[in-house]
Symmetry: D2
Subunit: 334 residues, 4 copies
C-alpha cells in the first residue's frame, strides 16, 4: 500500500485526499495544515489518519511514499525540497513554484534521487482536453492559427498571486500539452484595482513561430463565469466551452482559403462553412484519472506528462508575464 | 428637400441610401460606384435617381446638400475633401480616415466652411449602447474597472485594412462615447496568417488613468460569431451580448469589497451577488435614428456626437495600434 | 410572363408579392385589399401594379394566371372558388380553409378545371424541414417514437381563429410532410382567457398506429418565444430549434435498448449516448423556393407536395381539435 | 438525539442519509436494503451504523424515531404502515403511495397515532420554487393563466411506474404548493414504446376553475434534458429553467390587454413588453432544508407543508392519469 501524506487541507486538498484514498493501492495516512479547523475537518472525513500542524512530520516520516503539497504557491518549494530530500515522490498543486529557479532546483533534486514530481495540471486529465489533444495530434484541426481562451468570473481573489498566476496556469498547461511547438515570447497587460500590487484583470499574448498566436483573458471581476476557448486551424475550428454540461467540444467545418490573383484588390476569399460536430467526451473525474496515473508512473518508473518540467514551462511563462506587466506590455522572449 | 448623393453602393451603401431616402425631408438623388453592376442594382432600387461612375459628379453637383461616402477607408479622404470644398455636408463610413493627418485636414476644412461631418458610428444609435451610456451617466455602474469586448467571426476579410481597422472602430467609438475619461495609451498584438501584411487576429489593450483598462479581441478566423462586451463597475456589472434577440443588456448586482485588516494574509473580500436585470432596449433601426439625427444637426446647425472629432479619436487609436503591432506590442502613448 | 394577382396585402402579403415579383417568369400585376392604407403601401412598393378594393377584379381578370389569397382563413373559400371557377391557379395562405367541406369543394373544382392549388405551408421549404425529411427518409433517425413541438410566444392574437388554427398548421403540415404514416386520432385541450370563445393556450396530441405519438404545445401568452421540436427515433434523436441562427438541427446519437430478461425487475436498459452532429442547413429564403416551385409546378403541370390535398389534411386535424376541445379533450378519430 | 432508520439505500437514499446525519440533533443509526452491495456501500459511508436486509428491524426497533423510506413506490405502503403502527414518524420518497387508498390509510393511521408524515417533495425546498411561491403569494405575477412544464431527458426508465408517476410528481407537488386553487379535472395521453405496459412519453393537462390550465410534458426518450416551466400571469410572466446555474427564475414584465370595442373585428390588443428580472435565488441544498424542517416539525409538533395530505393530492392526480390514459385521454374529474 502506497502511503500518501497531504500538506494543506484547504479548498482543494480534500479532493486530492479523497481521490488518493479511493485508489486501491494507496491511502492517505497523514494530513498537515496550519489551521486547526482544517485538521478537524480532515479528521472527520478520514477518521483513521493522523493530523499535524507541522508539515515536516510528513516530509520526514518513514512510512510516507508520496507527499502531496496543496498549499499556496509560495509554500511549495520548502516542503517539496524537504520531501524529495527525504526520498518521497511529490504531487504539487499548480503553479509548480513561485520562480523558475525554484522549479529548476526541485527538478534537479528529483532527477538525482530518481523521484517523481507531478504538477497538478488537472485539466490535462479531463475528457475535453484529451479530445482536443487527439484532434490536434491526428491533424483534424490542421495547422493552428490561434488559441484563444477567456477564463473570467467573480473572485476568488488570491492573497499572494495575481489573476494570471491564479487562472492562467490552467490554460498555459493545456496550451503546452496540446501544441507541440514551443512558445517564443509573451506580452502581458493588467491592472490592479485595489492597490494591493496584485493584478485582478489581465491579458496575456503568447507568440510562437509559424504565426501561431495564443491569448488569455483572465479576470476576477467578471459578473459572469466564462470558460471559453477557441482554436482556429487550417482544416477545422474548435470551440471548447467547459461550462456546457454535455457538448463541451464543438468542431466546426469552417475555414477560409485566400487566393491572390494579381494583387490585393483581386483577392479571392473562399469561406467554407459546413457541419458542426460535438464528439462525446469522457466525463470521468479528472482528479481520479490523474491520481491513478501518478501511482502508475511511480510503479512503472515512467515520467508523467505533467512532470516538473511541464510545471517549469508554465512557471517560465508566468515569470515572464511579471516582467512584461512591469514594462507596460513589453514583449519578453522565453 | 435635402438632396443626398451617395458614393459607394457596395455592402453597406444600400442601407444608407434606404434610410436617407425614407426621411421625409431628404432624398437620394445620385449614386456613384466604380462597379457598373452596383449602379444597376442602385437604379433598380431607386428608379428615380441618377447614377455615375465618377464621384465628382456628386461632390461637384450644384443640387447636392449631403455627400455620403460609403467606400473603403482609403477612398474616404479625396471625395470628402472635394465634397467639403464644394460646400457639402459629409456623412462618411467608419473608420473616418486612413490617417490622423487626413482626419485633421477634413475637420479643419469643415470648420472653415461651417459644414457638418458625421462619421457612421452606427452602434451609438442602437438601443443597447444608448442604455449603456445611460447606466454609466446616471452612475448605476459606478466607477468602471474595465471594458472588455470580444468581436469575432468568420470573415469578411478586408483587402486594404487589418482586422483591427475593420472591427475595432465599432468598439472604440462606443468606448469613447460611453466613457468620459480619455484613453492615455494602447498596446496591440496581432498576427497575419496569409502573408498579406494584414493581421486577421489581434488584441488591443487601452489604458486610462484611474486603472480603468479596456480590451478588444478581434478575429476574422473564428468559427463562431461573438459580440460580447463586459463592463465591470464598482456598483454594478454589465454584459452586453449584441446577438441576443431580446435581452441584449444584462446588469448584475455583483461586486467585491476588499478590506485589508493588517496585511495581505488578513485580506477580507466580500463578494456581493444579487439580482440580474435586463432592461428593455429600444429596437428601432439605428441607421434610421442616425440619418434623422444628421438631418436634424444640419437643420439646427448643431454638432453631432459622432462628428469628425469623434472619428479622429478612433483613427488616432487605430494609428497607434499600427505602431504597437510593428513594435511587438510596445505601449504607445496617445 | 405569368401574371399574379394578390388578394390581401396585410402582414404576410408583401412577402408573397415580393417573391413572386422577383421571379423572372412572373410579375405581380394587381393587388386588392379592403384597407386603402394597405393598397397605398402596395402601390409604393410596386409602382407599376393596379390596386383595387374588390378582389373580383382579380379573380375575374382576363390577364391573371395565378391568384394569391393572403387573407384571414374565413376569407379563403369565396375568392379561391371564384378564381378556380375563372380558370386561375390558386396560391392560398395556410390554413387552407375554415372547414373540411370548403377544402374538398375547392380540390374538386381544381381537379375538374385542371388547375393547381398550392397551400402556403412555407416551412416545408426551409432548409431545416428539408433536412429533417431527408434524415427520416434515409432512415438516419430510424422508426419514430414521437414528434413533440413547442411553438409559443406573446401574441399575435387573432380575431377569428384560436391559437391552434393560428400556430399549429405550421407543425401539422411539417408533421404530415416528414412522417409517412397517417395520423389516426387526436385529442386537444385548451383555454380561452379573455372570454372571446377563442383559445389562446392549447395542447394537441396526435396518435398514429405503431405507437408513434405527436404533441403540439401552442400558446399566445408566453413571455418567451420558443420554436423547439424534438423527434425521437430508434436510431437517432433530433432537436430542431428554429430560433438558432446557425445550428438549427442537432442530431444526437442517443437511444435506449430494453432487454427483458425474465421479468420486469430483471429489466435491462442500455442507454446509448454518443456524438452530436449539426448538419449544415440551406438558408435560402423559403418563400423564394416555394414561389419558384409553384411556377415550376404550373409550367410542368405537376402536383405540388403542398397541394390542396395537403392543405385538407391539416384542416381535417384542425376541425377535429375543435370537436375535441368542445368535448373536454375527448379523442376524435380522423 | 433523534435516531433515523433508512429503508432503501439505492440512488437517492445516500443523499437522505447524509442530510439526516449532518443534522446536529439527528443521526442515521440503521439502514436496510435487500441488496447486500447497497448495504456494504452504506456501511462504508457511515461506519458506525447497523445494516440489515429486513426493514422490520427498523420499523420495529425500539430506538428509532424516524423511518425514512426511500424505495420504489410499490414498497412504500407496507413499511410505512409498520413504522407508523410502531410509533415512528415517517419520511417517505415521492410519490407518496401507489394508490389513493394507501395514502388515505397511512394518513389516518398517522392522525390516530399523532405522528408526522413527510413526503419527499424536495423541490418545494429549492430556492427556485420558494421564489415562485413568493412571487405568486405577493401577487407579483397576478392571476395565473397557465402553468406549463417540460421535464424530459433520456432515461432513467423505471421498472414499475410509468413516466408520469416518475417525473410528474415533482411538477404536481410544486403546482399544488404554489397555486392556491384546487385542480378540478385532468386528461392524460401517453404511449408505451417497449411493450411493457409502461408509458415512456406522456402529456398531462390539469384543469382548474377560473380558466387556469396546467400542462406537463414528461418524456424518458428525449435526447436533451429540459427542465423548463412557464407561468403566465395577468401582471407578469415567469420562466423557471432549473438547468441554469445562476438565473433560474426570470420574470418578464410582459402581458396583454384585450379590449373589445364593438365586435371581434374591432378587437384591440395591447402588448406590454418591458424589463426582465432574475432575482437572486437561495442555493442551499434543498434536502438539507427539508430534513431540518422535518426535525423541526417533529420537535414543534407542527404539520409540514409536504405532509401526507400533500402527498395524497399528488397521488390522486396520478391515479386519475392512469384512468385517463386507459380511456384515450378522457377527462377525469378529481
Amino acid at each position: 500500500m502506497i502511503k500518501v501524506g497531504l500538506i494543506g487541507y484547504g479548498y482543494w486538498g480534500p479532493n486530492i485526499a479523497r481521490n488518493f484514498n479511493a485508489h486501491e493501492e494507496a491511502e492517505i495516512s497523514i494530513i498537515s495544515d496550519i489551521d486547526p479547523e482544517a485538521l478537524s475537518r480532515a479528521q472527520k472525513a478520514f477518521p483513521k489518519i493522523e493530523t499535524t500542524a507541522d508539515y515536516k512530520d510528513i516530509t520526514r516520516s518513514k512510512e510516507i511514499d508520496i507527499v502531496a503539497i496543496i498549499t499556496p504557491v509560495s509554500s511549495h518549494y520548502e516542503p517539496a525540497k524537504d520531501a524529495l530530500g527525504n526520498g518521497k515522490h511529490v504531487f504539487v498543486e499548480k503553479p509548480f513554484t513561485a520562480t523558475v529557479k525554484e522549479a529548476e532546483d526541485l527538478i534537479e533534486l528529483a532527477e538525482k534521487k530518481s523521484l517523481q514530481i507531478m504538477v497538478d495540471h488537472t485539466f490535462l486529465f479531463t475528457g475535453g482536453v484529451k479530445k482536443i489533444k487527439e484532434l490536434i495530434d491526428n491533424n483534424t484541426l490542421g495547422d493552428l492559427y490561434y488559441y484563444d481562451s477567456t477564463r473570467v468570473n467573480l473572485g476568488l481573489f488570491q492573497h499572494d498571486i495575481n489573476v494570471i498566476w491564479d487562472l492562467a496556469p490552467h490554460d498555459l498547461s493545456i496550451m503546452n500539452y496540446v501544441i507541440k511547438d514551443q512558445p517564443t515570447a509573451i506580452t502581458a497587460n493588467g491592472v490592479d484595482h485595489f492597490g494591493r500590487g496584485i493584478e485582478d484583470v489581465a491579458y496575456v499574448t503568447v507568440y510562437f513561430d509559424n504565426n501561431l498566436i495564443a491569448h488569455f483573458n483572465v479576470n476576477w471581476l467578471s459578473p459572469v463565469k466564462i470558460r471559453n476557448t477557441l482554436l482556429g486551424g487550417t482544416n477545422k475550428m474548435l470551440v471548447w466551452n467547459d461550462l456546457e454540461p454535455d457538448e463541451k467540444i464543438r468542431i466546426y467545418d469552417k475555414g477560409v482559403d485566400i487566393k491572390n490573383k494579381k494583387g490585393v484588390y483581386d483577392l479571392l476569399v473562399d469561406y467554407r462553412s459546413g457541419d458542426m460536430w460535438a464528439p462525446k467526451v469522457d466525463k470521468t473525474e479528472a482528479l481520479k484519472i490523474e491520481t491513478e496515473y501518478f501511482i502508475e508512473c511511480i510503479n512503472d518508473k515512467k515520467r508523467p506528462v505533467n512532470d516538473g518540467s511541464a510545471g517549469l514551462d508554465v512557471v517560465r511563462i508566468l515569470e515572464a508575464t511579471n516582467e512584461s506587466i512591469k514594462n507596460n506590455g513589453k514583449m519578453v522572449r522565453l
